[in-house]
């Protein structure tokens, strides 16, 4: 207890978030093991994990770097396709290879290729900021999924063959195994495990590491430099912070994590196809809603919003038609409330009240 008090505030917060995640994980695992969790809920556990990763990684760009990215789903698309491609190709070429080698490789390569795309996008937007940056990331995201929608891949006689045309690869032998088929995408991807509990455990482990990484990143020297760019670009530049470098680092890291989420996504669904609704800017905006609702810049907020917005639509089936409408109202409402001096002063007063309540409790404890 005494150690808890001497900790830095950021460290304490980090421990609190990670511990909370572990406890939630434990509860869910017990619920699965005792079969009290409905099938419907069980199917939501892994989506919850990849949504958390997506929200936390977008929060790095929107909340920490302070630039609006509308192409986050594009990086997820890269991860989903490359990860699925790796695990399918390895499955065809080396059928005896253990899953414990295939899947980590899929995650690693999926994430790395997404990071390369992130680097490309990062270079494109070096000179841009604000609205122009947002529209270019949107354009980049759209270009990415469109490219995957015309990609064909197959394994023929132990060789991998690609075609970036609108038609299938010419001259395939009859024994060739088709991997990706253009707009139909990739199907028959092996699940991480057939057991829901194990699947959730793997997904949770990845999410846990990602959140830990992101929290450490935000509170590191690099993270503080990135935040200084967000708060005042000119001031940051004038004290010698290399803003180009820190912008690139953040965007690449964010893309890498989105790629990881994509790999998780493709292995959970088993079938992916490059479509506007799944990987286009509609999805990017859905992720943005997580971040905005959770509070831009707050990792814990992003996690909570991602979990809530994954679970609630399933519970409130009645409202499903109105889900997107509600998202829209959330986006407008949060922005209007945040920027309304009267309401935000009430919110601040409320926050202070809660804080002082806790402080008094602590003092009372010390007195005892």
């Amino acid at each position: 207890m005494s150690k808890l008090k001497t900790m830095r505030q950021s460290t304490r917060k980090k421990c609190f978030i990670l511990l909370g995640m572990l406890i939630a994980f434990g509860i869910f695992e017990i619920l699965i093991a005792t079969n009290t969790l409905s099938n419907q809920m069980q199917n939501l556990l892994v989506p919850m994990c990849y949504n958390i990763i997506l929200a936390v990684s977008l929060n790095l760009v929107v909340g920490i770097l302070g630039e609006l990215s509308l192409g986050h789903a594009g990086f997820m698309c890269v991860g989903a396709f490359v990860g699925a491609f790796v695990s399918k190709v390895l499955g065809v070429l080396y059928p005896d290879l253990s899953k414990w080698i295939v899947f980590p490789l899929a995650f690693l390569i999926g994430g790395l290729v997404a990071a390369i795309f992130g680097l490309l996008v990062g270079f494109t937007i070096l000179r841009l900021k604000g609205d122009y940056l947002a529209i270019v990331t949107l354009a980049a995201g759209e270009i990415i999924w469109n490219i995957f929608s015309v990609t064909y891949a197959a394994v023929d006689n132990g060789k991998i063959r690609f075609s970036l045309g609108g038609t299938n690869i010419k001259g395939l032998s009859p024994s060739a195994k088709q991997i990706a088929t253009g707009a139909q995408g990739i199907s028959g991807i092996d699940p991480l495990s057939s057991n829901a509990g194990v699947r959730f455990a793997i997904a949770f482990a990845i999410t846990f590491v990602v959140v830990w990484l992101v929290l450490n990143f935000i509170h590191s020297r690099t993270g503080r430099a990135v935040q200084s760019y967000r708060d005042n670009r000119i001031a940051a530049e004038s004290i010698g912070i290399n803003i180009t470098k820190y912008r690139l680092i953040t965007i690449v890291l964010s893309a890498f994590l989105a790629g990881i989420a994509g790999v998780l996504y493709s292995h959970e669904l088993g079938v992916i196809s490059a479509k506007q609704e799944v990987f286009g800017y509609v999805m990017s905006i859905n992720i943005l809603v997580f971040v905005v609702l959770g509070g831009m810049g707050s990792t814990l907020g992003s996690i909570i919003a991602a979990v809530l917005l994954t679970v609630l639509p399933e519970w409130l089936r009645v409202l499903n038609d109105y889900r997107m409408l509600i998202y829209a109202v959330v986006l407008i409402g949060v922005m209007l409330i945040n920027n309304n001096p009267t309401i935000s002063s009430y919110v601040d007063a409320f926050k202070n009240k809660v804080k002082s309540l806790f402080k008094r409790k602590n003092k009372a404890k010390e007195a005892q």
């Binding site: 630039e67 609006l68 949107l138 980049a140 759209e142 469109n146 609108g166 986006l331 920027n339």
Partner: protein, 303 residues
Amino acid sequence: MSFLNTLFNGISLGSMYALIALGYTMVYGIAKMLNFAHGDVIMVGGIVTLEVMQNFVSGMNPIVGALISLLAAVIICTLLGVVIEKIAYKPLRSASSLAVLITAIGVSYFLQNVALLTFGSKKKMISFAFLDKFDIKINEQLTIQGSTVINIVTMVVIMILLMLFIKFTKAGTAMRAVSEDNGAAQLMGINVNGTISLTFAIGSALAGVAGFMFLGSYAAIGAYSGTMPGIKAFTAAVFGGIGSIPGAMIGGLLLGVIENFAKSILANMQLGTLVDPIVFIVLILVLLIKPSGLLGKQVREKV
């Protein structure tokens, strides 16, 4: 002759982009915000046109009916634009551009989903057969379609009227002053909020016209129809130089022609779905090479 055909179709499409780009460029020049919902106002304009044509004016002379529905679309879009500005954008005048952009995305989403719930998820079709009267037959192979003629004429007329308005009226002068420096404009006694509202009203009225043109060219409209033309027209506005009215025209026409040629080339390669990425690549290239656009001013950053 197919070359000329593609060119004329491109110019027709480009005229529509130019008209939409005008809305973006004016709002961006004066309110310094990217009105993401502009594309969806076009969709509303198209839907209003379609509903009025099908339900209210079906018995009339088609040309009179079309004009009435155009008028209805323009009025409703103008009102919509002003209401959006009052409710969503005005409270955020002093907020960060990130907050404004997110709100604009929210408004865009809101309009799409209201349209989806009231209008249905299917695209609705309508025939604009009377436009054939305006066909210009040049020779056996080449006919300029009526919708193309109408699009080009409308765009040119509106462009000239708008330039005259901005140059010679008091409100137009106020607009130029606000876009130059809105603090100084306020000190000179210009009603800045009123001017911004007027800009939104004009931009949205143009979006109503563009909605009508969209329906005339594609003969079908749905809840998501506005997004892509919206983003492409923004590309056109950036291409021509944001804030510049002739720039919007040049950017729109160039982009329309580029898109149509890309479409015919890609269709030969069986890559017809890749038309939109080509437009986006144009956007990225313009922003990489000349972020201020063809006719835009380079703005220096002050500390």
